[in-house]
Amino acid sequence: MLLARNLKQIAARSPWLYRINSGSCNGCDVELATTACIPRYDVERLGCQYCGSPRHADIVLITGPLNRRVKNAVLRLWEEIPDPKVTVAVGVCPISGGIFRESYAVCAPVDQYLPIDVNVPGCPPRPQAIIEGVAQAIEIWRTRL
């Protein structure tokens, strides 16, 4: 029993990623797919894997400026992700609104509604920058376990 508990502490855990598109132009989503699917970048080296269900996720990647239309869906989805979770804002849209700032149709910045932990600016950020952000998120996630 003690051994099992120690093993649990020693184990380098693997956070699973979950992607929320809150009205993004798909630029950042393509870069997220690139970091996962293209062997050149390969985010799975950090132990991360994209999962299809919010209930399996540890790190949430939010793209897009939070459209008024998808706002409630995004907030509900985010609530479904179990704690401890780390939220990463990918691209300038969720961080500040980017070029959509002050539009009537968007609710950016996202940190008005959700606690964001890591920001990855860029329009879109390059895959290596996303990997850098995910690496920072993993460090934050380890402290919260």
């Binding site: 300038v92 500040s96 940190d111 606690p115 964001i116 329009c123 920058a129 920072q136």
Partner: protein, 167 residues
């Protein structure tokens, strides 16, 4: 045979995956990354503020002069500011390491100041902007540029007019 040659090539080439978080990442020479501002060469024309599609650049008048501020979290790295800048004082570097924790969100700002100065000719207070050198023939010598930079816009115009009339 095909498989063997493929195997040999892969063995020679090594892994295709970039070592990035554990090693350096290759960056293109002309990569459009973090924008930097050089106040010493700025003419103060504010064209960058005008062309910025994201409204990331802001000039504001302070008691010390004209302050430049660019928020990297709003910048979309389009390069319009660099393209339109007449002196190249706003330009993009290849730095893309911008991922940061939320606590640093509002600290990611590029700041600059065009200070006020006393005109060396008339004594009026004016901004110490770099003089506009386009269309000045013959080109100004370095000493003339320094003299011109220490003047207010009115005295600069007088200086250039006198220079045109001289020969």
């Amino acid at each position: 045979m095909n498989v063997l040659s493929l195997l040999g090539r892969n063995l020679r080439h090594g892994p295709y995956t970039e070592p990035f978080p554990f090693g350096p990442a290759p960056t293109a020479e002309r990569f459009r990354g973090r924008v930097v501002f050089d106040a010493t060469t700025c003419e103060g024309c504010k064209i960058c503020e005008r062309v910025c599609p994201a409204g990331a650049i802001k000039f504001s008048k302070t008691k010390d002069g004209l302050a430049f501020a660019l928020w990297h979290n709003s910048c979309v790295f389009c390069g319009n500011c660099e393209f339109h800048c007449p002196t190249g004082s706003v330009h993009q570097t290849t730095d893309w390491h911008l991922a940061h924790a939320q606590a640093r969100k509002y600290a990611l700002v590029e700041l600059g100041l065009l200070p006020n100065q006393i005109c060396s000719a008339c004594g009026a207070t004016a901004l110490a902007t770099a003089p506009s050198l386009r269309g000045v023939t013959p080109p100004l010598s370095p000493e003339e540029t320094v003299t011109l930079k220490s003047m207010c816009p009115k005295c600069r115009a007088k200086f250039l007019k006198a220079r045109r009339a001289k020969p």
